[in-house]
Structures are given as structure tokens and as C-alpha cells.
């Protein structure tokens, strides 16, 4: 116990900030992208829907290292697109924090998309028609009727997305690497210190991660729960 406290006292906190920042940014990107994709996909006919759904869910079911492999193929500075980003726009992805975000987003996005889609498909289509006959724009209908009505599903998706993005390891380690203070996330730090046999530091990080993960879930439940009076118990 004392060892834990002593270790915590002289801990390098940078992995925590990197993980938090990555988690928040990846969640925000996945949130909007997931809602958008879900809305587009549910309008397609059955066959197109199945195809798109499969593609969008792929990162969730593949091993993260496979996703990492594809991301490296795309963003490596020796490949056309990565070269273009680097030379024309000055953006480097591999071994940078942007790489962390891209890896986390790609892996976590399907959770947002799938939850949003399931929630949208439950919505009574008459609500949308009612909005239209009342003269509401499609934009207003989406943000003021559809999203709040699908609120619990979307909130659930957001929590899972954040948790997954914060804990991402496989794809991140391949694309962004584990550069301390730059791309070294908590998950990678835990793996690294365990390789060194430093179970005390690993334990400190595990406790921190657990507290944060629980706090995030609890907080979102409280925030959304207050506005979800329309959900019945059963």
C-alpha cells in the first residue's frame, strides 16, 4: 500500500493526459460521424444497408492490429496518401498524437454507429412525419426530435465509444507508437511497465483507469438520466 502511494507521488502523469485527450477527441469525432453514418445507412435499401453496415462494423470485429496494419498502409510517409499529407499539408500521422486519435477513432467509431443506428431504427416514423407537417426543417427534426428521442441509445453508444477510445492499445501502438510524453497512452504505459516487471506502477495506473472509467459512465448516466423521464421502467 505504501509502495503504491509512494509510486503515485512520483508518477509521470503524461500518459493520463494523452489518454484523456485522445479519448475525448476521438469520442467527439465518432459521435458526429456515427450519427451521420447511422442516419445515412438506415435510409438505404436492404442490400446496400447490409454491405455498408458490414464495412462500418469491421474495425470492431477485426483484431485491432489488423486495423493498425491498414492504417499504416494508408498513412505511412512512404505511401502515396501519407506522402501527400506530409508534403502538401505538413500533417504527419505516424508516431504523432494525431495517429493516436485516428487509431482510437477508427476502433471506437463502430460502437457509436451501431448504437445510434439501433436507436434510430426504434423511432416511430410518425414523429418525423409530424415534424415535417408542422413545418420543421429536417435539420431541426434530427437534432430536436430524433436525437433526444434516441437519447438513451446514443448516450450508451457515447459511453462505450469513450471507454474503448481511451483504452485502445493495438492499433495505437502500431500507428502512433509509444513515445513518452507524446503518444504514450495509459494502456501502453501499463504494458510497458509490466514488461519491466514493475507491478506497483502498473497497479497505480490500473486503479486510476478504473476510477476514471467508472466516473465517466456514472456521470453520463446521471446527466442523461435526468432528461430521460420518458423512459418507463419495466
Amino acid at each position: 500500500m505504501e509502495a503504491l502511494i509512494e509510486t503515485a507521488g512520483r508518477l509521470d502523469w503524461s500518459p493520463l493526459w494523452i489518454s484523456l485527450k485522445t479519448g475525448v477527441v476521438a469520442t467527439i469525432i465518432s459521435f458526429f460521424l456515427g450519427l451521420w453514418a447511422a442516419r445515412r445507412v438506415i435510409r438505404k435499401d436492404y442490400r446496400t444497408k447490409s454491405l455498408l453496415d458490414g464495412l462500418l462494423t469491421l474495425p470492431l470485429v477485426l483484431p485491432p492490429t489488423v486495423a493498425g496494419f491498414f492504417l499504416l498502409l494508408i498513412f505511412s510517409r512512404r505511401r502515396p496518401f501519407g506522402m501527400f499529407l506530409d508534403e502538401s499539408l505538413g500533417i504527419q500521422v505516424v508516431h504523432t498524437w494525431i495517429g493516436c486519435i485516428i487509431a482510437a477513432t477508427v476502433i471506437a467509431f463502430p460502437l457509436m454507429y451501431r448504437n445510434a443506428r439501433a436507436a434510430f431504427e426504434q423511432i416511430d416514423v410518425n414523429l418525423i412525419y409530424a415534424g415535417r407537417t408542422l413545418g420543421m426543417s429536417d435539420f431541426a427534426i434530427f437534432w430536436r426530435i430524433v436525437v433526444p428521442t434516441a437519447g438513451p441509445g446514443i448516450a450508451g453508444g457515447t459511453i462505450l465509444t469513450f471507454a474503448r477510445a481511451m483504452g485502445e492499445y493495438g492499433a495505437t501502438s502500431m500507428l502512433a507508437g509509444n513515445i513518452p510524453g507524446k503518444t504514450g497512452t495509459v494502456s501502453q504505459r501499463i504494458a510497458m511497465v509490466i514488461q519491466d516487471g514493475d507491478y506497483v506502477t502498473a497497479g497505480v495506473w490500473v486503479i486510476i483507469v478504473m476510477v476514471i472509467a467508472f466516473a465517466a459512465v456514472f456521470l453520463i448516466n446521471v446527466i442523461t438520466g435526468r432528461r430521460m423521464k420518458n423512459i418507463r421502467k419495466w
Binding site: 412525419y129 409530424a130 407537417t133 430536436r144 433526444p148 432528461r227 423521464k229
Partner: protein
């Protein structure tokens, strides 16, 4: 306000084809039809929320749809209020925000207009509730308030009372009339309930399998439905094919009677109909128009009793009435007649009186 609805609607969906014409300047228009007859599709077409509709629709003096000239206004631009069967209140919005949802003004203006409207509907005490916390009747009032506050040219009511229990149903029908009392535009209500529509409508259109079968004032349509499907929808249970024998006489093979009529028999008449409560019990001597019968079963209702009776006649020979057993009649006896039956036993005959006959065609 120009109060004339013109709707020529064509819509094909799979095997079903909707082809209706509704032209009316009545304030309250009713569309009566069985489920699957295309009632809701007609309303959705007028509101613009049905895809693939062609034709010409005009309401409130504006063209909403004209396929020939390529005009097809979005539902947002049609200024047509639509009340859904389940009211479609936005579940995550409070009552007041539901009513404000369609308003375009500043927040203060919208709030005061919505508040006024809720007060008129006696729902101002519920402004901050969520729709899920309201009763069915209250939800309906909010739904109507939400429509009325946008001042539509036309209001469409899709089976508005079907979700309510029978006591509330009658109360809400009365309330609806009252709430629509001050409304200047037209209202179209679709329903499968003849009572609701009879009470509500100035003009009724009867819809069967995607076509208008009969239209006219509520009184006329119920008194003379003119075609078999329309007669069924107005609640006429007993239908049979006829054979004209000349000199004002008709034979009804399925019922085993021949009737001599003073009324003129229309050329187009192929069938007759008699309402269940228009059959008269006769004890003793048989007269012209008396049907011989055997009791098949009875059906006890709170304030009347239905006797299902089988005529002794040969099987009916009406190919057009495939789904009707011409030999089986329904006779509805009110309490006073039930009393007579208790005293004297079942009548010997049931008599068809001339004035209650409906002449029908296919």
C-alpha cells in the same frame, strides 16, 4: 380563406392502387373505409408524407401537388396539419415545447402563443409535463393544440379516437367538435367507425379498396348507400341478390320471399339490403314479405340482442356477394321487443318493410 379541397390522388403501392377524387367545400369532411381501404394513404398523400403520389391537390386556395406541371410542395410548405392515430407527440419534449415545435417566431412570441393555445385546450396546467405522463385524452388535446397553433389551411385527422376507450371516445368527439368550432379551414377525418363520422361530417366519402364508392351528406349516404360495399360500411348486415319480376315485384331467392313494392325499383338495382334493426317480428299470419327462419345463434349485447337466423330458402345464387352468406340474416332486437319475445316466444316470421329497403348495385 378559400375553403375548397380538391384532391385527385393516384398512388400505386405493390398490388394496391389508390385512385381517389375528393372535391368538397364542406367544413367537415369524413372518409369512411375499412382497414386497408387506403384511408390513411389518402391523408398522407394530401399532407405530402406519402412517396410516389401523382395527381392534383389543392387546399386553402393553394396548389400543393400538380404532377402535370411538376409542382410538389414539401410537407413543410403545405400548411396542412396532421393528427396521427397515436398523436405522435415528441416524447422527449415537454407539452409546451411540443406545441412550440412548429412555430417560427421569436422565443417569447412562440411561448405566449403556445401558452394561449394550451389555455384554450385547458391544458395550461400541464405545460411542463412530458407526453408520456398524460392520459390519452390529454395527449389528443395537446396534439390538436400543436396543430392549431400553426394555423393550417387544412387539418387531417387520422382515426383520432381509435386509441381511446369508449367512454372517453364520446367525450373527446364532443370536445373535438367544440375545439374545431372556431377553426375557419376544412377538416378531413378518416375512420372506420360510422358513428364517429356520422356525428362529425358534413360530407362523407366512402372508400373501398382504393376507390371512392359513394359521397354525399352524411344523411344521404347512410340512407342510400347505393352500392354493396358502401352499404356494408354503413353497417348494413343483410344483403341479397334480387330478381325483378315486373310490376313492382322482386324476388329475393336467398331469403325465400317475393316482395310487392310501391316504391319505384331503380334500373341499376341488383341487390337489396336491410339493416338488422329494420326487420319486424310477426306472430301469427304470414303476409307478403315475411321471411321464414330457423334460429342459428344469438349474441347478447348490453342494450340489444342479435339473433342470427337462417332462412329456409335454397342457397343464394349471387356470384357478386362471395363473402356473404345470403341465407344468414342478423336481426337486432331492442329491449321492448325482447320483452315481447319473453312473453310470446320467438316470432313466427320476420317481415321486411318496404320503406327500410336499400337498393344496391355492385
Amino acid at each position: 380563406m378559400d375553403r375548397r379541397l380538391h384532391a385527385d390522388i393516384h398512388r400505386k403501392a405493390g398490388d394496391f392502387e389508390l385512385e381517389v377524387s375528393i372535391h368538397s367545400d364542406a367544413a367537415r369532411i369524413g372518409i369512411l373505409g375499412a382497414s386497408g381501404s387506403g384511408k390513411s394513404m389518402t391523408l398522407r398523400s394530401i399532407a405530402g408524407i406519402e412517396e410516389g403520389v401523382s395527381g392534383h391537390i389543392e387546399a386553402g386556395g393553394r396548389v400543393l401537388l400538380d404532377s402535370d406541371s411538376g409542382v410538389c410542395l414539401k410537407p413543410q410548405k403545405r400548411n396542412v396539419g396532421y393528427m396521427f392515430q397515436n398523436y405522435a407527440l415528441f416524447p422527449a419534449m415537454s407539452v409546451i415545447r411540443n406545441v412550440m415545435a412548429g412555430l417560427k417566431g421569436t422565443k417569447e412570441e412562440n411561448l405566449s402563443r403556445a401558452t394561449d393555445m394550451l389555455r384554450r385546450f385547458r391544458m395550461d396546467g400541464y405545460a411542463d409535463r412530458l407526453p408520456g405522463e398524460l392520459s390519452g385524452g390529454q395527449q389528443q388535446r395537446v396534439a390538436l393544440a400543436r396543430i392549431m397553433v400553426t394555423e393550417p389551411d387544412l387539418i387531417l385527422l387520422d382515426e383520432p379516437f381509435s386509441a381511446l376507450d369508449s367512454y372517453l371516445k364520446e367525450q373527446m368527439q364532443y370536445e373535438m367538435q367544440e375545439m374545431l368550432g372556431s377553426y375557419q379551414g376544412q377538416t378531413v377525418m378518416v375512420s372506420h367507425s360510422r358513428d364517429e363520422l356520422y356525428r362529425f361530417s358534413d360530407e362523407i366519402f366512402i372508400l373501398g379498396n382504393g376507390r371512392i364508392l359513394r359521397s354525399g351528406t352524411a344523411q344521404d349516404v347512410f340512407a342510400e348507400p347505393e352500392c354493396v360495399e358502401a352499404a356494408k360500411l354503413t353497417g348494413c348486415r343483410n344483403l341479397a341478390a334480387i330478381r325483378k319480376c315486373g310490376q313492382g315485384r322482386i324476388e329475393v331467392p336467398g331469403w325465400g320471399v317475393t316482395l310487392s313494392l310501391d316504391r319505384e325499383i331503380p334500373d341499376w338495382a341488383e341487390f337489396i339490403g336491410v339493416r338488422a334493426d329494420a326487420l319486424r317480428p310477426v306472430w301469427g299470419e304470414r303476409t307478403d314479405g315475411c321471411i321464414h327462419f330457423d334460429l342459428e345463434r344469438t349474441d347478447e349485447l348490453p342494450f340489444e340482442k342479435h339473433f342470427y337466423i337462417r332462412t329456409g330458402a335454397a342457397a343464394g345464387s349471387a356470384p357478386a356477394l362471395a363473402d356473404i352468406d345470403e341465407n344468414l340474416l342478423c336481426w337486432s332486437a331492442k329491449p321492448d321487443i325482447q320483452k315481447l319475445i319473453d312473453e310470446r316466444g320467438l316470432p313466427d316470421w320476420l317481415e321486411i318493410s318496404e320503406e327500410n329497403l336499400l337498393f344496391l348495385r355492385r
